[in-house]
C-alpha cells in the first residue's frame, strides 16, 4: 500500500515536471531551417544562452524550405535560410500575417567546389563547372586531368545550396541524372575526401580534408576568402538569412541585434563563414 502511494506521487511529480518542460519550451525562441546555417545557429544559441540565463533557444535543421514552411505555419519564431524566399512563399506570409516578414542577412557564404586533395586540378571556370554538373563533361581529361570518370556529388533538391548552385553556377540548367545526391554537406565533403575522382559543392565552412577550387573569371581566379566573398569577386557568394514574421520585437529583437553585433559576427568567423559588414 505504501509503495503504491509513493509510486502514485512519483508519477504525478513526473507528469508535473514534464508539463513544466512543455510550458518552458513554449517560451523558448525556436530557430529552424537551413542545414548550412545549423552549425552557426547552434554556436550563436550556446553563447547567447550563456550570456543571458533564462533565455532558451532551440535550433533545428531540415533545410531552408522546411524552415520557411515552419515560419509560415507558425511553428518557428525565426527561420534560417541559405536562399532568399521564393515569391510563392512571400505571398503565403502576406496572406497569413498581412506583412512581408523581415529578411535579415546574418552572414555571407561562398559556395565552394570541393575536390579530392589528390586531384591535380585547382582552378575551373564557371562554364566548366556547369558542364560537369549538367553532365556534358564526364571525364577529368576534358579538364586537363587524368583519364578517369568524374564522380559528381551534390545535394538533395530540398537543400538551399542545391537551389543556389543551380541558379548561380548552372544558369538554371538541370543537374545530370548521374549526380549522387547526399543528405547534408558533411556527407558530400566526406564522399569527396574519400573519392579520388569526386567533385562536390557546399558551404566554405565545411571544407575540411578536401581541396577548395579557385574559380577563374575574367578578372582572375578567386578562392572563397573573406575579401573575395564580401566584395563579390568570388562569383558564388551568397547571403545567409534569418526570416521573422513581422518586425522583430522583444526577445527576438535582442537576439537579432546581438547576432549582428561585432560579438555575434565574431562567431560567424570562427565557424568559417564571412561577416555581413
Amino acid at each position: 500500500m505504501k509503495l503504491k502511494t509513493i509510486m502514485f506521487w512519483a508519477s504525478l511529480a513526473l507528469v508535473v515536471i514534464m508539463a513544466c518542460n512543455f510550458v518552458m519550451a513554449g517560451k523558448a525562441i525556436t530557430l529552424k531551417g537551413s542545414d548550412t546555417l545549423l552549425m552557426l545557429g547552434q554556436r550563436w544559441a550556446e553563447l547567447y544562452m550563456q550570456k543571458n540565463p533564462g533565455v532558451v533557444i532551440q535550433v533545428t535543421g531540415g533545410g531552408s524550405g522546411v524552415g520557411i514552411a515552419a515560419l509560415i505555419n507558425g511553428s518557428t519564431d525565426i527561420c534560417q535560410a541559405s536562399r532568399s524566399m521564393k515569391d510563392s512563399e512571400r505571398k503565403k506570409i502576406r496572406e497569413r500575417y498581412f506583412n512581408l516578414g523581415s529578411e535579415i542577412p546574418v552572414a555571407k557564404d561562398g559556395v565552394t567546389l570541393y575536390l579530392n586533395e589528390k586531384n591535380q586540378i585547382s582552378e575551373l571556370t564557371l562554364d566548366q563547372i556547369k558542364d560537369v554538373y549538367t553532365g556534358k563533361t564526364t571525364n577529368w581529361s576534358q579538364l586537363g586531368g587524368p583519364d578517369a570518370k568524374i564522380i559528381v556529388y551534390g545535394r538533395e533538391n530540398s537543400s538551399g545550396t542545391y537551389a543556389f548552385f543551380r541558379e548561380a553556377a548552372m544558369k538554371n540548367a538541370d543537374y545530370t541524372s548521374s549526380m549522387q545526391s547526399l543528405p547534408g554537406t558533411s556527407a558530400v565533403v566526406n564522399a569527396v575526401a574519400k573519392d579520388k575522382y569526386g567533385v562536390g559543392f557546399g558551404g566554405a565552412a565545411y571544407a575540411k580534408g578536401v581541396k577548395e577550387v579557385a574559380i577563374k573569371t575574367a578578372k582572375g581566379s578567386f578562392k572563397p576568402t573573406a575579401e573575395t566573398v564580401k566584395s563579390g569577386q568570388y562569383p558564388l557568394s551568397r547571403n545567409l538569412y534569418w526570416y521573422v514574421r513581422g518586425k522583430p520585437s522583444g526577445e527576438i529583437k535582442k537576439l537579432v541585434d546581438w547576432v549582428l553585433s561585432p560579438e555575434g559576427q565574431e562567431v560567424v568567423k570562427t565557424v568559417g563563414y564571412f561577416t555581413v559588414k
Binding site: G65, E156, S158, A163, D174, S177, Q180, L182, A191, K194
Partner: protein, 308 residues
C-alpha cells in the same frame, strides 16, 4: 464487504478490457486513416485541373528522367521503380541464403543451449536502427568494397543492397525458423527411421514441408526491403539513373519521398507526385504481405489441418 470488493474488481476488469479494445480499434482506424490520407493527397493527379497542368498519371511513365526541380519538371517513375527493384533484389540475394541457412541450422542442427543463444542474438540485429546501418554503409562499407573491387562509384546499389540485407536478415530468419519448427516431429522421426542422415532429413524432408512458410518469410523480408528508407537514402548514392547496372548509384522510391518531401511546395504537382509514390509503395508492400500471410496460413493448415 467482500461482495462489494468483488464487484469493484469486476468493474475494474471490464474497464481494462474496454480500454484494450479501444486501443486495438484505434490502431486499425489509424491504419485506415493513413491510407485514406495518402489516397486523398494523390487523387488530385487524376482530378484536379490545376495540378494536372504540372503532372498527370501519364507523365509518370513518360521518358526515363526523375527531375522534379527544373524549368521543365519531369516525373518519370521508371528510374526510381528500377532503383527499388534493383536494391531489393540485391538485398534478397544477400540475405536469403544467410537467413534461411541460419534458420535451418538453429532449428535442425543446433543443440538447445546454442539455439537459445542464436535466436535472440540474430533477432537483436533487428534492433539496430536502420540509420546506424546506413551510416556504417556510407562511411565504412562503401570505402571497403570500393578498395577491394576497384568500383568507379563508392555509393552504389550493391553497397546499399548488402546493408539492406543486414536489415532484413532477422525478419526472414525469425519467420523461417518458426515455419521450420512448425513441421511436426513425426516427419523427422519417420525420415530418420528410414535411414536418412540428419542433413537429408533437414533438406529433403523438413525444408520442403515448410516451404510455403519459408517463402512467406522471404516475401515478408522483401516487403521490408521495398519499404526500408534510411539505409538506401544514405548508402545508395541517390542518383535517379535508369540502368540495370548494380554498380552504379541508384535512387529508390522510399528515398525519393524522404529526401524531397521536406522542401516541396505544399499542394504543388511535385507534392502530389510524392504522395502517389507513397500510394504505390503502400499497395506493393500490402500485396506482398498479403501473399506472405496467405502462404504462412496455408502451411499451417497443410501441416496440422489433416489431423482434424
Amino acid at each position: 464487504m467482500s461482495l462489494k470488493k468483488t464487484r469493484f474488481k469486476y468493474l475494474g476488469e471490464s474497464l481494462i478490457e474496454g480500454n484494450i479494445k479501444i486501443t486495438a480499434i484505434l490502431a486499425i482506424i489509424a491504419v485506415f486513416l493513413i491510407f485514406f490520407f495518402i489516397l486523398r493527397e494523390s487523387l488530385p493527379i487524376f482530378f484536379n485541373g490545376e495540378v494536372q497542368q504540372e503532372i498527370t498519371f501519364g507523365k509518370f511513365f513518360q521518358g526515363i528522367q526523375w527531375q522534379p526541380v527544373s524549368d521543365h519538371p519531369r516525373f518519370s517513375l521508371w528510374p526510381i521503380i528500377m532503383g527499388s527493384l534493383k536494391v531489393t533484389m540485391i538485398a534478397l540475394v544477400f540475405a536469403v541464403p544467410v537467413a534461411i541457412g541460419a534458420a535451418l541450422y538453429s532449428s535442425e542442427f543446433a543443440g538447445r543451449r546454442l539455439k537459445e543463444f542464436i535466436k535472440p542474438v540474430v533477432e537483436l540485429l533487428a534492433g539496430i536502427p536502420s540509420v546506424v546501418l546506413g551510416f556504417f554503409a556510407l562511411i565504412i562499407m562503401a570505402s571497403f568494397l570500393k578498395n577491394i573491387f576497384g568500383w568507379t562509384y563508392r555509393l552504389n546499389a550493391v553497397n546499399a543492397g548488402i546493408a539492406l540485407g543486414f536489415a532484413i536478415i532477422p525478419a526472414i530468419y525469425s519467420l523461417a525458423e518458426d515455419a521450420l519448427n512448425a513441421v511436426p516431429k513425426s516427419f523427422r522421426e519417420a525420415a530418420l527411421g528410414l535411414g536418412a542422415t540428419p542433413w537429408q532429413t533437414a533438406v529433403k524432408v523438413v525444408l520442403p514441408a515448410a516451404l510455403p512458410g519459408v517463402s512467406a518469410a522471404v516475401l515478408f523480408g522483401m516487403g521490408r526491403a521495398v519499404g526500408e528508407t534510411m539505409v538506401v537514402l544514405m548508402a545508395a548514392g541517390n542518383a535517379p539513373l535508369f540502368s540495370l547496372n548494380p554498380l552504379e548509384s541508384t535512387r529508390t522510391m522510399t528515398a525519393t519521398i524522404a529526401a524531397e518531401l521536406g522542401e516541396v511546395v505544399f499542394g504543388s504537382g511535385h507534392y502530389h507526385a510524392l504522395f502517389f509514390i507513397g500510394l504505390t509503395l503502400f499497395t506493393v508492400t500490402f500485396v506482398i504481405n498479403l501473399i506472405s500471410w496467405a502462404l504462412f496460413d496455408g502451411l499451417m493448415s497443410k501441416l496440422y489441418g489433416a489431423k482434424k
